[in-house]
Symmetry: C2
Subunit: 754 residues, 2 copies
């Protein structure tokens, strides 16, 4: 709900502390603007204190010769001089506006700003004055910096000119910066004794922020008339000679530059970037480019150059959770603080044969209470899902080679076993672990292995359906019309069904015939458990994945070592599905099998910075253990286990675990209970009734949901990765409603995720 | 120079502002400690103000019944109540301690702490009280948080209990956190009216920090004797019932936990991590693990569990600049603030067909004034050097395939041309662009192409020498005994020499015979310009690289498109050599040729977080341009162009450019002038005289230096990646000198970098 208007400059004024002259300097700004512009607006969202001292009244009173142009407002007023959260708690009777939610509070400000802006057809300025210091609490108790953040208004910081004020000013600035605020100027009073402005001016110049010093107000005369006259003279001085007018010109320039910058970004980006997965020839015009000015929670604030009226910044729901990396929303203050803490303590420090607390804490929690619990013994760090999978493949293939005593060409000729439709990343090794089909390939892509066509799960016409691939459809039982979703995912229960036997026979037959045909020797089983994401949001029948692992393991001889992998190492690519994306920390309990290697990324760092981990069992690790450097896993990226990423991951895991205990999760899960009080095996934050309705729509072939994922597949004869039909269909919900928000989405061709 | 002693707990006390009760609460802490421990030390590094109010004297006076155990000290005392930097500037006569450098200042504190600690053989506590607020300037003008940071002492923050104090306390905490400080407790006075402690206690509990509230001091009686008695009663109350003793127990526990944690980290890490490029079988004991507690500038602060006396934290020079990622030192505050700013504004936001300011600014500066200047038109983002190279290879191979009209199997069979000893990363595609030799390989590594044995440059016995590979040694002129380093790197000048002709003929002959032999069709030339880093710090004769590019381009037909690549696209892997690692922004001017694709990472983000860019010329970009999604570059990582990394990169480029104008660089460069006043073609921060001396040593085969890189190659019959001999040799300089520092290094087998 960030707002930006061309002819209507808004600045929010924060104080480095209380009593630093915020209202005095804001009055001077308002008075200066009134002398220059057609209209000036002043808003004090919350006022506490004695009514005779109210800031809005002070400003109206001292608006100077042009005071008729000034409109002031106060949204929440309390008559006790304490912090707003306390004032709200203490408020009684007619002050019963009391505690309002942050959302209501910020919405009321946004509405007010929008109303003022649309009233003004000619240039006007607006000042929003906050209360106390930057982190003073608002009504709900959330501090101002966090509460006002969705509005993302450019700010002016009023610094502290007193003893200790250098520190107070810098710290307040840093708190603004930790929330990403634009600081257009720092204002403070001149003080000949402490000279804070002499210190702060070059300090902030180095950081690209202008500091403007003003003469301090004169001592207050005892006589009321003389007091008013003296104040008037002072404001007059500030505006005429005291520096307010040059400051206003700078603020106007900053405002214009910001708009010019935002307006040119689409074109400049089209000329400069080579976007991932984008056919530049299809980016026809500037409007096809999403210009992101800031982001907050689940929303982007995007700039539209072509708006004729209203704000040129609009809210847009991040419909794909930024490629499925987000879990806690954008710009979460706790993640920023975690990043800052690690950066401030270490920067990045090298990792081979070294250790630091963020990496160790992360590794231990992944092994002890995370997805590696009960089977993994080691954590290898890399930079993204793709590199994490390369590491996993190197681990598994080497472990297989060592046990089988393979050398030279035999090692090169190994292949993997997997499912058709899988996706493991874009580096060539990760691509080689996927079937080559369709457009998703490149010059050096050389698919190495065999991939089964998997049976899938979906909701069609309101009912869960297991769809068998052609190779199986004839041999299998027709699916039971009374199945429930909980039954479909009750793998242990289904292991004894006829369908399990059909799967088993089919897999065994296929593997035998592959051996006879002399294909590549299969050395690792690579699966995305439950859902193949980028390949088209394919919900694989979990029974098939379970039987596949069972068959592969049963075919191998019992290993000599205890607790060792059997048949071939099994890799779980949990980059997309892991860490509660599907409503469960790991897919292991549901499938009832542990892998030998697993890979995690995306949510791991809460959508802030790239980091991946590859977990391995001890038996895989042992294949590389010895006294020869040559037999070590000779893989490592420069920023391996960077402290910032590890610390952000630790904070993410903490907050996500907390989220899983939240009311929203508990309520949503309850809707998926197969019978009241019975825990659902799978569930989703999407309402099952909604799914039912959508699945019955004419154009919809099938839907499916699990955890945070909703997949809608359309009836489209031209389905495929390059299809544009979802894009067309989704235009209908993409259109912008200025009273709410639009939706940003990336379709996956055949499968569309919102 | 961070310090940690088992029996000697040190805490540094910061204030959220001036006049918040720092000295009062510190006095209570000292008095409490004195009641419990054998000795207590108090240090006020800088004191300003009237002598009768001096904090150290107040503490000595109010030490209570155990005051004989208390030792106080003040290192710099000024008699004027202003900020220390101003006091130092104003100081005259006997106050002429005046402005000292931060290094001297912090060293004097460290020496004092060490002296106190070694005096104490029995448990003791020490409190270091800072001046004013957290960011109040020290003598040099640098603020306390940055100045004291190398000491990395655990801190106590004294919060502000007044109106506005919630904000002041949180902001001060955030500033501490931005420098990575450990905050063990926040103390403040109880105030029944403003109730800041009621708010701050749960606020910080959520952030894992304990808040302790104390009764505020009573009003000061006018009578001197009564004033002293009242103060005594107050301190007595704080210690006996007011909460000081439980706080001290908590501080002791925190101290013990910190030591226990650090002492267990080596073992736990050995049990948990799978380190990159490490043979775990060779990590024999806990002492082989580098336990990094913090880092600052060029130093790690490492923990040694086996110290019998002295600090268990020791400074260690980061001798490999953390795998060559560092440019500005660890934990640089400007990079932390850049990271925080972007995180606070965006988090990460998705990038396909989108734009945000940090990415756009970075891309434009790389193209307009960075290494892409004059030839590149597009920037593709990825996560590390290896993924950046995968992208480069996909670009080049596709561009070649499209122009040559190759399809299907012909595309798969393409190879690259390069140099033996090159290294482009650890993902399998990047590995495939390197020759397979020695131990650096894996199951799916399938080297695709041909690699020349390159001629190399080094300093032997004080003289620059060009060493030719066996295939050339017979046919080439012996190298001139009078060559200078500047002449060797004057590529334009050398193009007309007989050696250039020899190179040209050899390359042409080899390429022709490769074609006849029917090897893979060569589709891209891939070079690490000037130096092959990880492959062994091989300084390649730049003339050979230049002639190689010239020959490859001359062999291709003139392209139809203007300004298009010719022969085959040329990729410069500048991940290690770029962005001033070699003292130059880019190697392009020296070589006199522009590539068609280049890759940059490592220094790009100043050693903080992973980020890579692949720059491409317009002709390469055009090969993917069209109306079919299938012909786009279908490559992208989840965190592509993450805002945090881009913003850190922007700040890094700004600071590195500034560094190149510094006195240190100018002076170092001057030593490399071939004649006074003549700019050297290549230069190093290492003194040429030092190189000369080392190159003449018995055990040294050759040395070489350029920019920040120093390479020393030893005479070793068993040379190779797996050699341990450099490690043995370097033990001699690794030993710890408690008065200075030790050196952390990673040797490269055949080549050793410091």
């Amino acid at each position: 709900m960030s707002l930006l208007f061309k002819h209507f400059r808004i600045h929010q004024i924060f104080g480095a502390n209380t009593d630093v002259g915020k209202t005095i300097l804001t009055t001077a700004l308002v008075r200066g603007s009134a002398a220059l512009k057609n209209r000036v607006f002043y808003l004090k969202p919350i006022s506490t204190g004695h009514i005779e001292d109210a800031d809005d009244e002070h400003i109206q009173r001292h608006g100077g010769p042009s005071k008729d142009k000034i409109e002031t407002a106060c949204l929440y007023r309390f008559h006790v001089p304490v912090s707003p959260h306390l004032a709200a708690q203490l408020a009684v009777g007619d002050e019963s506006q009391k505690i309002v939610s942050d959302k209501t509070f910020v919405n009321s400000i946004a509405s007010h700003l929008e109303r003022c802006a649309t009233q003004s057809t000619t240039p006007a300025d607006m000042y929003v004055e906050t209360a106390g210091g930057v982190h003073s609490p608002t009504l709900s108790g959330v501090t101002q910096l966090d509460c006002y953040r969705p509005l993302f208004l450019p700010t002016i910081l009023v610094g502290d000119s007193r003893l200790g004020g250098i520190s107070a000013t810098i710290s307040a600035y840093e708190s603004l910066l930790l929330r990403g605020y634009i600081v257009d100027a720092i204002l403070l009073f001149r003080d000949e004794y402490y000279r804070n402005s002499d210190y702060l001016t070059p300090y902030f110049a180095e950081r690209g922020v202008e500091v403007v010093a003003f003469d301090a107000p004169p001592p207050i005369p005892a006589d009321v008339a003389e007091k008013i006259a003296s104040t008037e003279r002072y404001y007059d001085h500030l505006v005429s000679k005291g520096g307010i007018l040059p400051l206003l010109r700078n603020l106007d320039t900053r405002h214009e530059q910001r708009i010019a910058e935002l307006s040119s970004m689409a074109r400049r980006s089209q000329d400069t970037f080579w976007w991932p997965f984008v056919q530049h020839g299809l980016v026809k015009s500037e409007e096809d480019v999403t210009v992101i000015d800031s982001a907050s929670s689940d929303f982007f604030s995007v700039h539209k150059s072509n708006t004729t009226s209203g704000s040129s910044l609009q809210s847009q729901l991040d419909g794909s959770a930024s490629w499925w990396t987000q879990a806690l929303g954008h710009a979460h203050p706790s993640l920023t603080l975690a990043a800052a803490r690690a950066s401030g303590r270490y920067g990045h420090v090298m990792f081979p044969q070294a250790t630091h607390a963020p990496a160790l804490q992360l590794a231990e929690s992944l092994l002890q209470s995370g997805p590696g619990k009960g089977w993994a013994s080691r954590v290898f760090f890399s930079d993204d899902g793709s590199t994490g999978m390369e590491v996993a493949l190197k681990m598994a293939l080497r472990a297989f080679s060592v046990r089988e005593g393979l050398e030279g060409a035999d090692r090169k000729a190994l292949g993997v076993l997997g499912l058709r439709g899988s996706y493991h990343g874009d580096t060539i090794g990760a691509m080689d672990a996927c079937a080559e089909e369709g457009v998703y390939t490149c010059e050096w892509h050389n698919a190495k292995g065999f991939w089964f066509d998997p049976p899938t799960v979906s909701i069609q016409q309101g009912r869960p359906v297991i769809t068998l691939p052609p190779a199986l459809a004839s041999g299998a039982e027709p699916s039971d019309p009374d199945v429930t979703m909980s039954w479909v995912y009750d793998v242990a229960e289904r292991l004894e069904t006829p369908l399990a036997a059909v799967y088993r026979a089919y897999i065994e037959r296929t593997l035998e015939s592959l051996e006879k045909e002399g294909g590549p020797r299969l050395a690792a089983l690579v699966l995305e458990p439950l859902v193949m994401g980028a390949g088209g949001m394919i919900f694989v029948d979990p029974l098939f994945q379970r039987v596949l692992v069972d068959v592969v393991r049963a075919r191998g001889p019992a290993p000599e070592e205890l607790n060792s992998w059997r048949g071939m190492p099994v890799i779980f690519d949990e980059v997309f599905v892991g860490l509660y994306r599907l409503g469960m920390q790991s897919t292991i309990p549901l499938l009832g099998i542990t892998p030998d290697v697993s890979v995690h990324a995306k949510i791991l760092t809460g959508g802030l910075v790239p980091l991946a981990v590859t977990l391995a069992s001890d038996s895989v690790f042992r294949a590389f253990h010895g006294t020869e450097k040559a037999s070590a896993l000779l893989h490592g990226h420069s920023y391996t286990a960077h402290a910032l990423g590890c610390e952000v991951a630790n904070e993410t895991l903490r907050l996500v675990e907390k989220e899983t205990q939240s009311e929203a999760w508990t309520k949503a899960r309850a809707l998926w209970e197969p019978s009241p009080g019975t825990q659902p095996v799978v569930w989703s934050l999407w309402d099952p009734q909604f799914l039912h309705t959508v699945s019955c729509m004419d154009k919809v072939a099938e839907v499916m949901a699990m955890g945070t994922v909703l997949s809608i597949k359309f009836k489209d004869p031209e389905a495929g990765y390059v299809s544009h039909s979802a894009q067309t269909w989704l235009q209908s919900i993409k259109c912008y409603d200025p009273k709410s928000f639009s939706v940003h989405f990336r379709t996956l061709g055949m499968s569309r995720t919102l």
